[in-house]
């Protein structure tokens, strides 16, 4: 059981939680994640450790409401307990001074990008962060990202905020403008696929942090498997970060959709139960 020390809304659907977890706070590095389960019958979901305070013995999670489990977590309040939390898991991000790094994130990927951008900046990189979303309301963490980036570029599909266009348009503009040494991308698999295709064209090394479906998060089940460079890898132990140019995104996209129908049903059920109209 881990106690929630504070809760802050970044937007209607994005919540920052500071959670008591002294051992994890001590051992975590940028890029690590935890598995979180809310309630006895809850699902185990992976969440990146956005920040940690060793003195206070807390870690910070930034959670976006997606389906049942993330909503249950976002609905917890200060003083509530998270039923189960284990970590730190995965391999830490490889951080060094690469030069200029573009951090391209979209949708659910913005939260896990935060600690990576922060660590890259701290290591002396010039960090250009691109946050992309369909429309203005879906742009999250802009302020927090500004604190850890030299520049933040906003892209919206409909042009309601920042520049009109996709994340790839934003990246291409930077590439044309200056030398980019590394691109890090986190977001929907389809987005990462196109980011990867683009940077391959320009020969820019690219790291993608993959957000596959997970069950245990410790290498025990293989639910998180992806094909990287023709070999099957487990994202929870071999990743979550991989050379994007080697990742089979089409397969990953296909696997992510696996439980869509069941997930949609579950969400409808939860909404009905809580009295909201489905």
């Amino acid at each position: 059981m881990n106690k929630i020390i504070s809760k802050e809304y970044f937007s209607d659907n994005v919540v920052k939680l500071e959670v008591e977890a002294p051992l994890i706070a001590k051992s975590r590095k940028a890029g690590h994640f935890v598995m979180v389960k809310v309630g006895e019958k809850g699902e185990r979901i992976p969440l990146t450790i956005a920040d940690a305070d060793q003195q206070k013995g807390t870690i910070t999670l930034v959670v976006q409401k997606m389906g049942v489990s993330s909503t249950k977590l976002c609905d917890l309040n200060e003083g509530d307990f998270i039923t189960d939390m284990v970590g730190p898991l995965g391999k830490a991000t490889h951080i060094e001074n690469f030069g200029t790094v573009v951090c391209a994130c979209g949708g659910v990927g913005t939260a896990p990008m935060l600690p990576i951008a922060a660590a890259l900046k701290k290591a002396g990189n010039k960090v250009v962060t691109i946050i992309a979303a369909r429309t203005k309301e879906l742009i999250i963490l802009e302020e927090q990202m500004r604190q850890h980036s030299d520049e933040v570029i906003i892209m919206t599909d409909d042009g309601s905020y920042g520049n009109k266009g996709l994340v790839t348009n934003g990246i291409e503009d930077v590439i044309k403008r200056e030398k980019v040494d590394l691109c890090v991308t986190i977001g929907p698999a389809i987005m990462m696929k196109f980011v990867s295709l683009l940077t391959k064209k320009y020969n820019i090394p690219t790291v993608a942090s993959l957000n596959t479906i997970m069950v245990d998060g410790t290498g025990m089940c293989g639910a998180c498997r992806v094909t990287v460079g023709g070999k099957t890898k487990f994202v929870c132990v071999d990743g979550p970060e991989f050379d994007a140019h080697q990742v089979d995104f089409d397969e990953m996209l296909m696997r992510l959709g696996g439980y869509k129908d069941i997930e949609r049903e579950e969400l409808e059920k939860m909404k009905c139960a809580s009295g909201a109209r489905p």
Binding site: E43, V215, G219, T232
Partner: protein
């Protein structure tokens, strides 16, 4: 008392003389009462075997000849005093029988349910040499352990006074649990660290309710709590805490029982299609996460045409689970013949009664999916049996050009597991074999780092509950000795 002295005791002699050997061997072997196959193939949580009644158990115990040379004991990996406990059952002393079991086995209620008795104790029973069915030792073991538990009169083991020495256990499977129990009895301050949110290892996340109810495992865990063992879940040694952290926290001995948690795949075309998963994933979803219940947030596929690849206990558990979750066709696909199947005989029998199809001498070579990437078909290579291989089993060889296509909507790959690499990778200097298992001295279970001992699947690769439990007990005895010697040395030098 040794075995011969026990056997020479008056009550044993009198009991033996009550019936002629011929009369004993003429009694037919008891049949374990079980749930109706049609009913049980739709109920996920009810245990298939219902257990013997006291009358049945006493009658079955009469079949045992109380041999002068009890070969059954040699078949038992931990050397349970089999004739003694069986004869105690014959006299109606069920509590005494349970006590006898506990002298050597930490988890009799579990082992009575899941041990492959037909390959161990029962295979050595004198009856089998007379071409008769062996005494149902496993059923009797379960009976005595259940009787004690249900009576509420659980004998509490004697505990040595606390010596305050802190001992850490990594993993809460049968190896870790039995080690923890013995160390607590020796007076140590024992803490078990478990990576998952549940305590029990494979006993909880792997073996299904219909074969081993969680409640039975929980009783054992609570017994350990009662003698002072502490459990910390959600804690991965090597990640949350390192071995060095444990040392700094004052732990003086560490036992690693981290199991063989890594699923193997076959690396064939289409294996990453949606609907194809490891048995670990499938069973974890259903058992640990209770995914098939309405109120669970974890989803699970409920396929109608489910193929399970493999012939071990894990494959049987998966295929029978699939059947219970509504599969119209639940199929075992195994590359050898039924004779070579490593699964317990009883599981194969139960599976067949529940309508599981056995497609033996078949090996998948390719999976085919639809536009959504969901598996729809598999191509099977037909096999035949060739020469015996190193394991003595006849090895399967391909029948050239002969393949079959099978319609499926879910496939569960159950072709074995590898040792959990976390500890071997995270402890510097720990000797690891080329199979990824931790190397130990087989007599003491000590690794090349003196304070670290190991046992169970992390040492043996995939093995059995009883072997894991035996390792845990052996490691406890030798760690106890090692600590005593060490302290003696220190005392001598002062």
């Amino acid at each position: 008392m040794d075995i011969a002295e026990e056997r020479a005791q008056e009550w044993r002699v009198n009991l033996r003389n009550q019936m002629k050997a011929k009369e004993r061997t003429d009694i037919p072997r008891v049949h374990m009462p079980e749930l109706d196959p049609v009913y049980r193939s739709h109920t996920r949580l009810e245990e298939v075997n219902l257990g013997l009644t006291p009358e049945m158990a006493m009658q079955e115990a009469k079949r045992c000849l109380d041999c002068a040379n009890p070969t059954c004991m040699q078949g038992c990996p931990v050397g349970i005093y089999i004739p003694k406990f069986v004869k105690q059952i014959e006299t109606g002393d069920f509590g005494g029988a349970a006590k006898t079991l506990k002298e050597t086995s930490a988890l009799p209620a579990v082992c009575g349910r899941v041990c492959p008795q037909e390959k161990q104790c029962e295979s050595q029973c004198i009856h089998t040499k007379m071409k008769k069915e062996a005494v149902a030792i496993g059923h009797l073991e379960r009976f005595a352990a259940d009787y004690e538990r249900e009576s509420g009169n659980i004998s509490v083991p004697e505990i040595a006074p606390s010596n305050g020495i802190k001992i850490a256990v990594v993993g809460s499977g049968p190896a870790g649990l039995s080690f923890a129990g013995d160390m607590a009895k020796y007076g140590y301050d024992v803490t078990v660290f478990e990576a998952l949110h549940e305590i029990g290892g494979v006993l909880k996340y792997g073996i299904p309710e219909f074969r081993l109810p969680n409640a039975i495992v929980d009783v054992e865990i609570n017994n350990l709590r009662a003698i002072g063992v502490k459990f910390i879940n959600n804690c991965i040694v090597g990640k949350t805490l390192t071995i060095n952290d444990l040392k700094q926290d004052g732990f003086q001995g560490i036992f690693v029982g981290s199991g063989a948690g890594l699923p193997r795949f076959m690396n064939i075309q289409g294996e990453n299609l949606v609907g194809i998963m490891s048995s670990n994933e499938y069973l974890t979803r259903v058992n640990l996460m209770d995914a098939a219940s309405e109120d669970s947030d974890t989803p699970v596929f409920m396929g109608k045409k489910v193929a399970v690849i493999g012939g071990g206990n894990t494959a049987m558990d998966s295929v029978r689970t699939a059947r219970r979750l509504g599969a119209e066709r639940a199929m075992i696909v195994y590359r050898r013949s039924e004779e070579e199947m490593p699964a317990r005989l009883e599981e194969v029998k139960h599976a067949k009664e529940e309508g599981i199809e056995f497609m033996t001498l078949r090996n998948p070579v390719k999976y085919i999916g639809n536009e959504q990437g969901r598996v729809t078909q598999m191509i099977l290579q037909v096999m035949e049996l060739g020469e015996p291989d190193a394991s003595g089993r006849r090895s399967p060889v391909e029948v050239p050009g002969k393949t079959e296509t099978l319609d499926v909507d879910e496939v569960i790959v159950s072709v074995g597991v590898s040792p959990n690499p976390l500890i071997p990778h995270s402890v510097e200097g720990l000797e690891v074999t080329k199979w990824g298992t931790i190397a130990v001295n087989n007599d003491t279970m000590q690794t090349d780092i003196p304070m670290i001992f190991a046992g169970g699947d992390i040492v043996r690769g995939g093995a059995t509950v009883i072997l894991a439990m035996g390792d845990g007990r052996k490691a406890a005895a030798s760690m106890h000795k090692w600590i005593q010697n060490r302290d003696q040395l220190v005392a001598d030098n002062c």
